[in-house]
């Protein structure tokens, strides 16, 4: 798969709720693994399943949203713990982009590091989007990272909303440079120089 994230299209699953923290996205007791491989299995575990394993009513248990690759959320999504397991579980479940009113900083940064755009829109547009995909799970969304817009097609109708995405993030999705490791590593000599000249604590002030 190309690293560029210019246009993402697909169906969306609506996840309502404010301040949905990363403990809810994936409870801590499922993090006891040394790889991220199985994290997709535990996405929203406690919101989706009763203790006996039976299903609760939840959009991710609704067959209509099977195969959705975009998640629509409300505000301060992903607050709390910095666990990358949360975006890993979302990505491994099959979601490749999120649209919401707002995202917690560490969570949005972790998503970016995985090449998952988190787009913000105003409250009324998010409410319209949630209502649309709840009424019509087959609605198609087209996220255009370049123009920072989302096109929504449902029952022959079409809407376009504006979204926000910081410039640096937008650029990294457009040119596929969202994994910064290579760029950072290219400056190793400069890192050593900066530490030697600016940071006396690197030598314990000798």
């Amino acid at each position: 798969m190309s690293l560029e994230r210019k246009v993402i299209s697909g169906r969306a699953v609506p996840i309502r709720g404010n301040e949905v923290d990363t403990d809810r996205i994936i409870p801590a007791r499922f993090l006891k693994e040394i790889t991220f491989e199985r994290m997709g299995d535990f996405l929203f575990q406690d919101a989706r399943f009763n203790e006996d394993g039976s299903e609760k009513k939840h959009p991710l248990n609704d067959a209509h949203y099977k195969g959705a690759n975009i998640m629509v959320v409300e505000n301060n999504f992903g607050c709390g713990s910095s666990r990358e397991h949360a975006p890993q579980s979302i990505l491994r479940y099959g979601i490749v982009a999120l649209i919401g009113e707002s995202f917690a900083e560490i969570f949005a940064g972790n998503c970016k590091a995985l090449g998952v755009p988190t787009l913000s829109a105003n409250k009324s547009d998010i409410q319209m989007l949630l209502a649309t995909v709840e009424a019509d799970p087959s609605a198609t969304l087209t996220l255009d990272v370049d123009s920072r817009t989302v096109r929504i097609q449902s029952n022959g109708k079409e809407d376009v909303i504006q979204v926000t995405l910081p410039d640096a993030r937008r650029q990294s999705f457009l040119d596929g440079s969202w994994d910064e490791l290579g760029t950072l590593k290219g400056n190793l000599d400069k890192i050593k120089e900066t530490a030697a000249s600016n940071l006396p604590y690197f030598t314990n002030f000798t």
């Binding site: 910095s82 666990r83 940064g109 890192i191």
Partner: protein, 471 residues
């Protein structure tokens, strides 16, 4: 944009370059790792045959999955044992200092860093844990990161970051008796909300923070992230330097003056410019208790539970959800709410001074018969100190359980968990749904002394009533 703040000065010192993306590449002076968010990063290194660039600038310990009841190896929980073993192997392979159970220095990463002198003013500090903000108490820029960023630091000792705005949080005056650092930060978050800090670093300033001990400052900075601020810090001063002096990794006596000169140089200027300010009067703060499902849903112990009808849309929706989960009624007092479990510990309140405050309440009293009380020291060194002072005997005589060091029931990745819809009075930092290990479990956040008072009375109590009796 802010100017002349500690945040700006430390940022500029650590900046390598501005990257083509517009982000700044920043050196991370101290990297702390633990067993939960590092194994995947090491796996990425191994896959490509990469090296750790500055192994001497990373330090590891083990906290989240460590059982606090039986710490003999191998752990009964095979998943926990595998995580422990993986961290041991990774740190050995890459030449990273590991403070394990045999070292006598193991504990919650945010307690271990400061108590061994790793944490110092004017550093940038990162760890795959959101409560890394704790280290800001020393005048460091300290923040939580994800596992991909852990990998980036291991391979380059740097991160790509965007500059935050700086909000000055000013609390002046004198705290009333019975009001602690925990109450101060819970009051700030209750006022500013859990989103108030998004996009900001918080600089805590004013009489109240200046008069605090380092351990109290750590409690405040620890919960910055609960207010949405990834970073919270306090300018270093004599209190800071006195705390660091003589610790394991502190600068040596002969280099001490140079260290202090650097630390003084990164303090915020008197005429520093801030992006925003918030003021609170110390006298207006009382012992706090959270009643909901995020740390911003807190009230004073003498207050009644708020009515959602008077709130803005988003707050009302969250409050309504909270009342359903917590099985509490608007308009009723929080005081008198029956509890099942009392938990004292965590990176927020698992230090020696926290245990001393709790012991004062427990001394000569008994834990209510229906309550399970856990006292969990934040590190092996805190445990040893507490035992030297005889605090363990006070806890045990009161009927509380005295445990080994670890994260315990703060996040329940170990054997300590709530059962069913039990209510816990907890000195930890998060009351999120499911946080303490049961999907229906309920958490009331408060100070360690308030937790002790709730444990004794079996219901949420005003600790000042017990303190008056003691005094």
């Amino acid at each position: 944009m802010s100017k002349g703040t500690l945040y700006n000065k430390v940022w500029d010192r650590h900046k390598v370059t501005t990257l083509p993306s517009g982000l700044d590449q920043l050196i991370i002076g101290l990297h702390m790792i633990h067993e939960v968010t590092s194994p995947q990063a090491f796996a990425m290194l191994k896959e490509k045959g990469s090296k750790v660039a500055f192994p001497e600038r990373t330090v590891a310990t083990m906290d989240h999955i460590v059982p606090t009841d039986n710490q003999f190896r191998p752990f009964f929980d095979t998943q926990a044992e595998l995580m422990a073993k993986t961290l041991e192997e990774n740190t050995k392979e890459y030449g990273i200092t590991f403070l394990g159970l045999e070292s006598g220095k193991q504990g919650v990463v945010h307690i271990v860093g400061p108590e061994n002198g790793y944490t110092q003013p004017g550093m940038t500090i990162a760890c795959g844990d959101s409560h890394t903000s704790t280290h800001g108490a020393f005048g460091a820029l300290a923040f939580g990161i994800g596992t991909t960023e852990v990998r980036n630091i291991l391979e380059t000792q740097t991160l790509a970051l965007s500059l935050l705005k700086v909000k000055k949080i000013c609390v002046n005056g004198t705290l009333r008796p019975g009001v602690t650092a925990k109450d101060v930060i819970l009051a700030i978050i209750a006022k500013l909300g859990v989103k108030g800090g998004i996009g900001f670093a918080y600089e805590y300033t004013g009489d109240v923070f200046e008069n605090m001990t380092m351990e109290e400052r750590m409690t405040v900075c620890n919960m910055s992230i609960e207010g949405g601020a990834r970073i919270g810090y306090i300018n270093p001063d004599q209190t800071t330097y006195d705390y660091i002096k003589g610790r394991d990794k502190a600068p040596s006596a002969e280099n001490w003056d140079k260290a202090v000169a650097y630390w003084e140089s990164i303090r915020s200027d008197a005429d520093a410019v801030y992006d925003d300010e918030f003021h609170l009067d110390a006298a207006d703060i009382e012992p706090m208790v959270t009643w909901g499902i995020n740390p911003g849903q807190g009230i004073g112990i003498t207050e009644n539970l708020p009515n959602p009808a008077g709130m803005s849309d988003a707050d009302r929706e969250t409050a309504e959800e909270a009342y359903v989960h917590m099985q509490l009624q608007p308009g009723t007092p929080i005081k008198g709410t029956k509890i099942d479990v009392a938990f004292i510990g965590s990176c927020t309140n698992g230090r020696i001074s926290d245990l001393r405050e709790a012991a004062k309440i427990f001394e000569g009293r008994k834990v209510a018969s229906h309550v399970q009380a856990l006292v969990v020291p934040g590190s092996q060194q805190v445990k040893a100190q507490a035992e030297q002072e005889g605090l363990d005997k006070i806890f045990i005589a009161a009927g509380a359980e005295w445990r080994g060091a670890g994260c315990s029931m703060c996040l329940a990745m170990n054997t300590d968990k709530l059962k069913g819809d039990q209510i816990s009075a907890s000195s930890s930092n998060r009351n999120f749904i499911g946080r303490q290990g049961s999907a229906t479990g309920r958490t009331l956040l408060m100070s360690p002394a308030m937790v002790a008072a709730a444990a004794i009375n079996g219901v949420v109590s005003d600790v000042r009533e017990l303190q008056e009796v003691t005094a």
